[in-house]
């Protein structure tokens, strides 16, 4: 052991000697080189940010992509005269001078790091900055990435937005290469598929002169582009919905009832995904633009729910096709008077007339016969009270009440009481009527495509379950739904040449009596005999017939567009094939 300890001593001398040699090497032989670098403080790093993949609609149209932009950046260390810089910038950009100065003087952990002062400068702003460059030492224009959304606020709830990573997210994401100041997906698909869309940041290590201007590049890391998303959404349908809804507050969801592919999703009021801060209002306000009404708006379904009541009644044999009930305009339930929406009443009606006229007395009576348990049982079959599982963050489950809290069979039967549904749930339900009982999970993303065009993952339609509904029941129900549009409550929705089947619904009946606006809704599918579209329109303030007219207008537009499109199928296939070549992200 003594022997070995002696060897050890030699080893110790050797190691310390090695360290000394290296220090002599650095401090004596390379002294002037390192002293010069140190005096000039001339090494900077530039982070160019994280590139994100593109988002395409089902036909290869770009819905979201990164564009090169020019940002105004500053290096705290290179700011020789913050006061002057603040004055010049405030006159160029019309920004508040004292606010600018606070920002510029903010202490930082690394004063050599470039920080973004203003994103996406215009041509004239860039020109102005270069004109005053002599007064702006430490301030630069630097290329960066800016997210562009083709449809602007029209698809904001669908695509979402990106924003600077928060401190909490940073702790989790720093191992994935995300650094402070980087942008990540914060909402919508941008959030849901953030990991997929997010590429890897790139940048430079550069040497600068005394004024902080780049002299040469020492090291470079190339950006790695993120993956692209191809959606089931059709830009033409989405635009039709945006235009049809206009400035009204409400929501529209369009789905393919044969597989659950979402063709369009619109929610209003909306926000500009590039300027989110402007829209920050109280989240409890009913005007909240960040509430995606399609998946998180929970409303009483109103008369649309009569579809469920009808299925329950016919399937359980509680009522036959031609059993008639007299509607006098009101009925007594316990000690309360229950009204039909038509004051003078519908007279004697059977189920074939009750659905098109949406007779509350008929369905109320049927509901009383069925009992609350039976109705809720059928509602549960259609997965009400559960999120549909659509690939968007923030979906709400609605509310499927217990029998005790439901508000009674008469209320539940006409979609009032404690039951709450989301438009997406109603759309899934009406799709199941259209396709004969299949509950398809709604989905938005069809595939994930690598930047080189290779498909990484393809999402297949998911059949949640098949609800057994007898052929007789379906025939009666579907005929009734057609008649809703032919001569019933949604007569305004009819479109020449395309037969539509649907059901209107109005929530907040009590509010109507008080003269307050009602929430009108319409759920439908078309063409009635071979449905390829299912849709739900909800107007926050409006009647159900207005909602139906909007649906009709959209369907008309879709089918006229479809005719136009079928002629150009060939050129579109080519477009889809060549799509990945333009998707390298930032160059």
């Amino acid at each position: 052991m003594e022997q070995r300890l002696k060897i050890f001593q030699q080893f110790l001398r050797f190691l310390l000697g090695l360290l000394l040699l290296q220090c002599i090497n650095l401090q004596v032989f390379h002294f002037s080189y390192y002293r010069k670098l140190s005096d000039q403080n001339c090494i900077r790093t530039i982070d160019l940010g994280i590139p994100r993949g593109k988002i395409f609609d089902r036909n290869g149209r770009i819905l979201a992509e990164d564009k090169t932009c020019f940002n105004l950046v500053y290096v705290p260390y290179d700011l020789k005269n913050p006061e002057e810089v603040a004055s010049v910038l405030s006159s160029i950009f019309g920004m508040d001078r004292s606010e600018l100065l606070t920002q510029l003087n903010k202490k930082s952990s690394n004063p050599f790091e470039r920080r973004i002062l203003k994103r996406s400068l215009s041509q004239s702003e860039i020109a102005a900055v270069s004109e005053y460059a002599f007064k702006l030492s430490g301030v630069f224009v630097q290329a960066g990435l800016d997210r562009q959304y083709t449809l602007g606020d029209g698809a904001a709830h669908l695509l979402g937005y990106t924003g600077e990573v928060s401190q909490e997210d940073l702790d989790m994401l720093k191992d994935e290469g995300v650094k402070a100041g980087h942008y990540i997906g914060k909402y919508g698909l941008e959030k849901q598929y953030d990991e997929v869309l997010r590429g890897k940041s790139g940048g430079y290590q550069i040497e600068v002169d005394a004024r902080g201007h780049q002299r040469r590049i020492l090291k470079e890391i190339a950006m790695v582009p993120g993956n692209n998303l191809v959606l089931t959404v059709d830009q033409i349908v989405q635009e039709a919905c945006i235009n049809a809804l206009g400035d009204r507050s409400g929501s529209i969801i369009v789905m393919d009832p044969r597989n659950g592919e979402v063709l369009a999703l619109v929610s209003k009021p909306s926000f500009d995904p590039l300027n989110v801060r402007k829209y920050l209002v109280s989240p409890y306000s009913n005007k909240n633009p960040f509430l995606d009404r399609v998946i998180a708006g929970q409303y009483a379904p109103g008369s649309i729910f009569k579809i469920i009541t009808e299925i329950a009644a016919l399937e359980s044999g509680e009522i036959g096709e031609h059993d008639r009930i007299e509607c006098t305009g009101s009925m007594e339930v316990g000690d309360r008077i229950f009204h039909c929406w038509k004051e003078e009443g519908h007279g004697w009606v059977d189920i074939n007339l009750a659905l098109p006229f949406s007779c509350n007395i008929f369905f109320g009576t049927v509901g009383a016969k069925l009992g609350v348990n039976k109705i809720l049982e059928y509602a549960k079959l259609f997965d009400f009270g559960k999120p549909t599982g659509i690939d968007l963050p923030g979906e709400k489950p609605g509310n499927l009440p217990s029998p005790e809290e439901s508000g009674g069979p008469v209320n539940i039967a006409i979609g009032q009481g404690a039951i709450l549904t989301t438009p997406i749930q109603l759309c899934m339900m009406i799709s199941a009527i259209a396709n004969g009982g299949n509950l398809w999970k709604p989905f938005i993303t069809r595939k994930i495509v690598a930047p080189d065009g290779k498909t990484i993952k393809e999402f297949q339609p998911t059949l949640k379950k098949t609800i057994f509904i007898s052929e007789e029941t379906l025939t009666i129900l579907r005929r009734g739904l057609k008649n809703v549009v032919k001569f019933g409550t949604a007569a305004g929705a009819s479109v020449a040449g395309i037969e539509i089947a649907g059901k209107t619904g109005t929530a907040q009946v009590a509010q109507r009596e008080l003269g307050l606006p009602t929430r009108g809704a319409f759920a439908c599918y078309a063409p009635a005999d071979s449905p390829s579209i299912a849709m739900v329109v909800v107007l926050d303030e409006g009647s159900s017939s207005q909602a139906a007219r909007i649906a009709g207008a959209i369907i008309k537009k879709i089918y006229t567009a479809e005719e136009v499109r079928s002629e150009t199928t060939i050129s579109e296939t080519q477009e889809t094939q060549t799509l990945p070549s333009g998707s390298q992200g930032f160059e």
Binding site: M1, E2, R4, L5, F8, Q9, L12, R13, L15, L16, L18, L19, L20, Q22, C23, I24, L26, Q27, V28, H30, F31, Y33, Y34, R35, L37, S38, D39, N41, I43, T45, D47, Y77, K107, S108, S109, N110, P111, F112, D175, E176, G203, Y204, Q205, L218, K219, E220, I221
Partner: protein, 359 residues
Amino acid sequence: MENHANPGKTLMILTSVLVALGMLLLYSASRSISTIQTGLPVYIKQVIWAILGAIIALWLKDFDYRHWNKLAHALYFITLILLVVVLAIGTGRAGRWIKIGWFNFQPSEFAKFVLIVVLARYFSIRDVQRFSTLFGGVLITGIPFLLILIQPNLGTAFLFIMIFFAMAYLAGAKGKHLLILLIAGILMSPLLWMGLKDYQKQRLVIFLNPWKDPLGKGYNILQSKITIGSGGIIGKGFLKGTQTKLAFLPEFHTDFIFCLLAEEFGLIGVLVLLFLYYVFLTQALRITLTTQDPFGRLVGTGIMVMFIVQIFVNIGMASGILPVAGIPLPFLSYGGSAMLVCFICVATLYNLYKNTTLF
């Protein structure tokens, strides 16, 4: 013996000098223009730690080192629990700390000392010439090693391997056996690699090749070399360092404190520091050589190895001859846990000498 100064006392004096030097450097560091400070300046905190460390050392210097032998099992067990706990609830950089009130407790620092004690006990009562004994030592080291590796704290994990090999070698293990273990370890490393998570792999890759990350670690290395080199022979002068003041390096008060010394005191400062360390370590070696008790001798060896590896890896990293690893420079780097462990080690060496000369 009589014509030499008491090496135990020399150690104590050297420790005081080194700690004082550390304070000086931390004081300089705290005057940086850009550190965002919360609470007390680091040098004040370090003074508190040093006082606490000194109290513990003064008490432990009379604590018979052979008690460590009896406590070995319990200490080892507690350490493993703490290492598991830190993985579950750890906070701070790379999740290495357990926050207890105002104190950030870093179990991996204490684990170093515990490993030394446990290995010393194990090798002193078994026949090290046998391969099975050696293999047992691998298991003893391996469990805390893995727990620290996945934190991930690559520097300390590496230190564990070095402590194991050095102690086994000095305990008298056959060179052939050690070579077999080394080769087996290298062959096994791909298995370990596969068990790592992506970000852990990423860190390892950057650890081995920092230029893969020129905006992060690579930038640190360049800046750290500029800092040392620009100090020249006589340095820029106390409090006059520019590099460290401007926060080119994110952790210059902890892992990169050597740069601060090299910049402000130049090659002369470096020579003084290396000389202090050299004298310190030769005194530790003298104590170890005079100790006849195998357990004590192995404890002394382990402590020595620990200091040498830490010094070499830390300064080697700062000067750019070794990859960047988060290992503190003994007595100088800011950090409560590391400081306390240094004092415990010095006190143990002192006691080793005291008990040896009683024979």
